[in-house]
């Protein structure tokens, strides 16, 4: 079985006008035509899965995934009930829903499947599935939008979805059901009077569409918080769907985008956009925020943090990790290279040291700077009981930590010349580690030695010792 992938992505509007009343407004009709074109494209892609991330299905307890194989009901919109009702009967991929739920949990997310007769499928999902998959030929899965989730949680949600798409060999189409600007008119208007609520909303919408047209999905993701402040009604904490869609496409900026339609729906910005994973040939742009592989929770917003606590400066031992050895401030000696962007050492040593035109890194593991969390999960619990961990997530995290230290030294990853890797379970982990190596350091070409060892100081499965040639 070949590895699955996302073969196409779409942004689609959420309001019911495109289903119930396209003939009442020329713009609504153009959106409907664009939906029809998108449906044909999906058919032509030979897709075997539709994944819907809907902004009109809010959740509180983590993310919810629809797993009723055939949800049926009649949907009436809370605002636009006078447009009529939409009867639906969808084809949900129950097996995929459960696999995604499992994958979410493996990556540290709170998640659950919902399978209840009469569950109210939200308007965004109903519109998307009714128009993109009119004959129900393609099985679908729908996920909620957690009202408290921020970037890392939303990104990891996409990555766990990709895990399943890849492992099941699926040809998936990712869809975000969303408005661009979502400010509607607060009074009733005639269909013929519809327009984007304000010039500012219109300008921002056009800016987003320009980015999408250029395939710069990652850049739109980076703008999510700004977009939320500028043109979104402040009912949730962030404009999340672009984070999700960007992560579903590997956080890239060289995709190929096409705007099929952009029109107002009662003042809100509705657009149908098609995004093709084929590289456009554009250079990938700067990627500003750290990638995230495993969710450790950002929800400690109510915890008290004493920002005046500067005890770390008084002692080299800065904190006791929740389990395992104490964490130290990296030592400073001539040529030392240290960074807050890498995890704190577990002893008195620097992150790296320059000698002449060579840079020698101390052993680097996957622990995350700041939180000390281990992407992919620790290999055992505090009692030493083994846990199921994700070696690929750990290896990715190691490479990311190496990259941060190398860049702190003013070098780049393509200057890495030699790597020694330590695995605590060669039999279990070599393949996963080797796969990640191939798609990261393997593309650069350093020499490599891989050793099996008994244990590492923290509950991690992989560590790398790296040598960099800084050039003449």
């Amino acid at each position: 079985m070949s590895e699955g992938s996302v073969v196409g992505s779409f942004v689609v509007p959420v309001h019911p006008h495109t289903v119930l009343a396209p003939n009442q407004n020329e713009g609504w009709q153009r959106l409907r035509d664009a939906f029809d074109e998108a449906a044909q494209t999906i058919k032509d892609l030979d897709a075997d899965l539709l994944v819907i991330y809907s902004t009109t299905w809010p959740s509180i307890i983590g993310h919810q995934i629809q797993s009723d194989p055939n949800p049926e009901w009649v949907m009436v919109d809370h605002d636009f009930h006078d447009l009529g009702s939409i009867e639906y009967s969808f084809n949900i991929d129950q097996e995929f829903a459960h696999a995604w739920d499992d994958a979410n949990k493996k990556r540290g997310l709170q998640s659950r499947c919902v399978n209840y007769k009469g569950f109210p499928i939200d308007v965004g999902s109903v519109v998307a599935l009714t128009l993109l998959n009119p004959d129900n030929a393609i099985p679908a899965v729908i996920v909620s939008s957690n009202m408290y989730a921020n970037r890392s949680e939303t990104t990891v949600l996409a990555k766990s979805c990709l895990d399943v798409i890849k492992s099941q060999g699926r040809r998936a189409v990712a869809v975000t059901a969303m408005s661009l600007s979502n400010r509607m008119f607060t009074d009733f208007i005639k269909p013929e009077d519809d327009k984007i609520h304000s010039l500012k909303d219109d300008e921002w919408n056009l800016k987003i569409l320009e980015f999408l047209k250029q395939g710069r999905l990652e850049d739109v993701g980076q703008l999510s918080r700004t977009i939320q402040r500028q043109i979104r009604v402040q009912k949730v904490v962030a404009f999340k769907p672009m984070w999700w869609l960007s992560a579903m496409n590997g956080n890239r900026n060289d995709l190929s985008g096409k705007v099929l339609a952009y029109e107002p729906i009662h003042g809100a910005g509705g657009a149908v956009v098609s995004i093709d994973p084929t590289p456009s040939g554009a250079g990938d742009k700067e990627y500003d925020e750290d990638d995230v592989e495993y969710f450790h929770g950002e929800r400690g917003v109510l915890d008290t943090i004493d920002e005046n606590d500067t005890g770390a400066q008084q002692s080299p031992v800065v904190e006791q990790a929740s389990s395992g050895p104490s964490l130290w401030e990296p030592t400073e000696a001539e040529g030392s290279v240290n960074t807050d962007a890498a995890p704190k050492p577990v002893g008195a040593y620097p992150h790296a040291r320059k000698v002449g035109n060579m840079l020698f890194l101390s052993g680097v593991g996957p622990r995350q700077p700041g939180t000390n969390a281990i992407p992919g999960g620790p290999i055992h619990d505090e009692d030493g009981e083994p846990l199921d961990y994700d070696i690929e997530a750990q290896t990715h995290a190691v490479v990311n930590n190496v990259k941060r230290i190398v860049e702190e030294a003013g070098a780049s990853m393509d200057q890495v010349v030699d790597v020694t890797t330590f695995l605590v379970d060669m039999k279990r982990d070599f393949k996963g580690y080797n796969d990640v190596w191939a798609e990261t350091l393997g593309k650069i070409g350093p020499t490599r030695t891989t050793l099996a060892i008994d244990a590492l100081p923290t509950p991690i499965a992989v560590e790398m010792k790296v040598i960099v040639h800084l050039g003449e």
């Binding site: 809010p58 959740s59 307890i61 605002d79 009930h81 400010r183 009604v233 402040q234 009662h266």
Partner: protein, 300 residues
Amino acid sequence: MVKGKIVAGCIAPHPPHLVYAENPSQNEPVAEGGWEQLRWGYERLRASLADIEYDAIVVLSPHWQTYIGTHFLGLPHFQGLSVDPVFPNLFRYHYDLNIDVELAKAIHDEAASAGLPVKMMENPDFRVDYGTITTGHLFNPEWDKPMVVLSSNRSTAYYSVEVMQEIMVELGRVTRRAIEASGKRVVVLASNSLSHRHFTTESEVPEDMSKEHITSHAMHLWDMRIIDYMRTGQAQRILDEMPEFTEQAIAESDGGGLSWLLSTLDVPDYPAILHGYGTIIGTGNAVVEWPCHAHEEADA
């Protein structure tokens, strides 16, 4: 015609957990109890109003969220299955409720005359939101009184708490005027939590009360401050502090129910009765009654 009157005003929470914990025959999931402080609070509220005659219940629910004006259920009867999209494991309730369409239309028309955007909801396929049903069930488990159901306009999200409050205070005034003109005796309910920061995880047994508490001390302080104003007849101070309360306690008053209620009651300066307080997945909830009937009798 006899002048209509509001016989009581209440703030009454609607998390589906309360119905779940009661195990009524209409709800599919089964619980081992839980959240008794609030459920017993509802019991005390029902007992307090048991001898008071009234014709209809007017409720504003923050879970029928409308962005374009205020909407009113506009058909005489609604029947169906309400599944909470957030807690479907707890709430799958078969509802059957009657609407006082005449009174709903009267409030609608009065609001329209005052320049507020309003609409009657007359689509028979419409599913009534779980907030209305939870409050309706706990306030009146027999479902033997017709209701008037108002949507929650989301003007806080669009503009600010101040703008929301201005709209809701006006909606409260027209609600009162319409009730008085109707000749009916009415209970008004704001289906509303106080502080509204949820836990984002759920215990294995949702009704495990060893896991239940307020999300933070700050939330508790705000809840007690607002309840104290209620108990001491200082409704105006609640309105005055509504922006700070709504913002800092992430309060469900953002839906306008509390502002509407206090305005409908003409901003009462007499003490309310606290029937119960408790938390539900970390949010603060109170069952409070303003006994308008007793206040009028005392005045008379």
